[in-house]
């Protein structure tokens, strides 16, 4: 296995192989935020051939702009083209892949060999990464894809640390694995619940998350069904908690995993910014001084501020049990709302110009965060609109408002407040 650490002259160990922090982005704004907040790479979806047909998704022109923006930061852009194509989806594939190559996307994330081989033929500069949709769970299969010429594989969500280590020992290929976000509870690519229940093809982006619905468990007898629940019981559910591997990042780094992936192309810029910045800090802190590293409780608190559901480490150490599923409160209300995006800051007056993203008013306690600052909280004082008219509240989505910040902030810093 490749070496990932060196010792400095003073005898201090440092990590030389930093894994890529890979973030999701559903549109150009999210892409820019992800990069700005510290992502080394961003995965996006195009108008075709990707899953998540409900996401905004990128036009080729938007991808070009995204790539240019990312290049300034040295970040890479991958495009998900991970449908299992039907015959009719073959049309336009060559041109699409050539377009991606032309706008200098770094690579594509693929499940269907049709797209893998087409890409190698018509757009050979693109890296090809195997999608988690292939449910890749053993080293022999990893070796197969390596021999097929793939640069990287994304593992099945069911793969644990020991299994990853064995893969790394047996095959020299880049490994990408999920560290944070919502999870499929089925082996990916093998679930057709949506096809059956709603005539939407889950393997072409139509998944309607039937696994999050309630069902009722019965035993079928000769002449009748027996309910295996009482009136007090909650319904049968197969909704998984979201993945959260923040405390396992050191192990993943030591294992030499190449890319750590955050799920969530549908998530808000607040979510992307929060999660990316926390993992950025964890990775940087660990790599700088692995032997004295400790998880800062503030990081965990920070992650919780954008959580949609309770979280768990899923398959990382063991097969997840009852505690890693959701039975009652399928969705948990978030504890914090994204209240505003900083557009400008005047260091003479301390006045910030903010784009409103959620209701707030003078007197509210708000928290600022961003890559350039330490989080701080303050009360909102007098509030004005763009034309300096005083406001009793910032009511309107995307409204431009101004008030005085107690500490310096920077463009694209964010403001959140506790949800009521």
């Amino acid at each position: 296995m490749e070496q990932i650490t060196v010792k400095t002259a003073e005898g201090k160990r440092i990590i030389t192989k930093k894994p890529e922090l890979l973030a999701p982005a559903g549109n150009l704004e999210k892409l820019k935020i992800a990069v700005h907040y510290g992502a080394d790479a961003v995965f996006i979806g195009g108008q075709e051939f990707g899953l998540r047909s409900n996401a905004d998704n990128f036009s080729i022109e938007e991808m070009a702009e995204g790539v240019q923006f990312a290049n300034k930061y040295g970040a890479r852009i991958y495009v998900t083209t991970n449908i299992f194509a039907h015959n009719e989806n073959m049309d336009g594939l060559d041109e699409y892949l050539q377009d991606l190559e032309r706008v200098s996307v770094a690579g594509i994330i693929v499940a269907d060999p049709l797209i893998i081989e087409t890409c190698k033929r018509v757009a050979p500069k693109l890296e090809v990464h195997l999608s988690t949709q292939q449910s890749l769970a053993n080293w022999q299969a990893v070796k197969f894809w390596k021999e097929e010429g793939l640069e990287r594989v994304v593992l099945a969500r069911e793969v644990g640390l020991e299994e990853m280590l064995e893969m790394k020992r047996n095959v020299d290929i880049e490994i990408e694995t999920f560290i944070h976000g919502a999870m499929c509870i089925s082996y990916s690519g093998r679930c057709t619940l949506s096809n059956h229940m709603t005539a939407r093809d889950s393997n072409r982006g139509g998944c309607c998350q039937s696994c999050r619905w309630d069902y009722f468990l019965y035993e079928e007898g000769e002449s009748q069904e027996t309910a295996l629940f009482t009136e007090e019981d909650v319904p049968f559910a197969m909704s998984p908690k979201d993945l959260n591997l923040i405390e396992s990042i050191p192990k993943l780094i030591e294992a030499g995993i190449d890319s750590l992936k955050i799920e969530g192309r549908m998530k808000s810029i607040h979510y992307v910014a929060t999660v990316v910045s926390v993992y950025r800090k964890v990775i940087d802190a660990y790599c700088a001084d692995p032997d004295n590293f400790e998880i800062d409780p503030k990081w965990l608190e920070e992650l919780a501020k954008c959580a949609n559901r309770p979280t768990a480490p899923a398959f990382f150490e063991n097969i997840p049990g009852v505690d890693e599923q959701l039975f009652k409160n399928h969705s948990q209300k978030t504890t914090h709302d994204f209240a505003g995006l900083v557009l400008d800051y005047d260091d003479k007056t301390g006045i910030i110009t903010l784009q409103q993203r959620n209701y707030f008013r003078p007197g509210d306690e708000v928290e600022f965060f961003g890559p350039e600052i330490e989080n701080f909280t303050q009360k909102v004082g007098n509030l004005w609109d763009e034309d300096d008219n005083e406001l009793d509240a910032a009511r309107h989505p995307l409204q431009i408002v101004k008030f005085k910040a107690e500490k310096p902030v920077y463009r694209n810093n964010m403001m959140r407040k506790e949800a009521r």
Partner: protein
């Protein structure tokens, strides 16, 4: 017109003769450690006996090695494939590329059928697996008739299509039934969760019932109705589909035998006298309906249904 294969899933060694006599020309067997969602559990000795019986009557034997393998299941794979090769199994059915890799090394002459159940959705990819060593692709159950025919027209490998029985909608590695029962405070040592305990999930929204069970491969959830296209075989027979599969999972031996007999009759009749087949279509469907289990309706799956995305 070439006669297609009629591929059936027997429930036990004792059931082999019945399905062959009913008209099966190939059977698929296997064990849970390597294969997914089988109608019966066949140990190595059972498979050997199956080969002996089936080959004696000119019937082929395929073994399901189509699990989603994790590292810990790889170590037994070379020995298993070598054994299957030694006893003369006609083909191994795989979904995971690991099987391809191990077969290349340890059983290079073994025929392979590619079947992931859900991802054989276009002809290019079917041919891709053909170039990697598969002789056959088993098509996804979520395709419509036109797509199936188009794949066959462009295929360089044999094409197998499931024409009858339930299909899998979902496989999780998690023990979902056990987790729910544990949440309810039930004693997992007492509560059965295997296929033997006919558990179903009721979906009140669609008033549908989905069979569910747990085994070594996790939790499986199945379609609410059985595919039955005994009255819609013409296009696929004309197109030259190579193998028609009857999946008998969660069905009795008697049911599987009877269904095999009906499909045998339907296929033979069409090849002999298409008009007579047309006249008898409704009767075939009625005969299937007459032996369907209680609460288990039939439909035409995705053969005539469009999905959006």
């Amino acid at each position: 017109m070439a006669k297609p294969e009629l591929l059936v899933t027997p429930t036990s060694v004792a059931h082999i003769d019945d399905v062959i006599d009913a008209g099966a020309t190939a059977v698929i067997v296997g064990e849970e450690t390597f294969g997914l969602r089988l109608a019966g559990e066949f140990s190595r000795d059972h498979i050997k006996e199956t080969v002996y019986k089936a080959h004696g009557k000119g019937v082929k034997v395929y073994v399901a090695v189509n699990g989603i393998f994790h590292n810990d299941r790889l170590s037994d794979l070379p020995d298993y494939l070598k054994y299957l090769d030694d006893i003369g199994v006609d083909a191994v059915v795989f979904g995971d590329p690991a099987v391809l890799m191990v077969a290349r090394e340890f059983a290079p002459n073994m025929k392979l059928h590619w079947n992931t159940e859900t991802t054989a959705t276009n002809w290019y990819t079917a041919n891709y697996w053909g170039r990697k060593g598969a002789k056959r692709a088993v098509l996804a159950r979520e395709l419509n008739m036109d797509a199936i025919v188009e794949i066959k027209e462009n295929a360089e490998v044999e094409i197998e299509v499931q024409v009858h029985g339930m299909t899998c909608m979902f496989q999780s590695k998690r023990t979902l039934i056990g987790n729910y029962m544990e949440f309810q405070g039930k004693d997992l040592k007492v509560e059965g969760r295997s296929k033997d305990r006919t558990l179903i999930l009721h979906d009140p929204e669609r008033d549908a019932k989905y069979p569910i069970w747990e085994d070594k491969n996790g939790t499986h959830i199945m379609s609410p109705k059985d595919i039955c296209i005994i009255d819609e075989l013409e296009e696929m027979l004309d197109a030259g589909i190579d193998s028609f599969k009857i999946d008998g999972i969660l069905k009795s031996s008697d049911y599987i035998t009877k269904i095999t007999k009906l499909y045998r009759e339907a296929i033979d009749l069409y090849l002999e006298d298409p008009e007579a087949y047309t006249d008898k279509k409704d009767d075939f469907v009625e005969e299937v309906r007459a032996i369907q289990p209680r609460n288990r309706d039939i439909d035409t799956g995705f053969f005539f249904k469009e999905t959006v995305y």
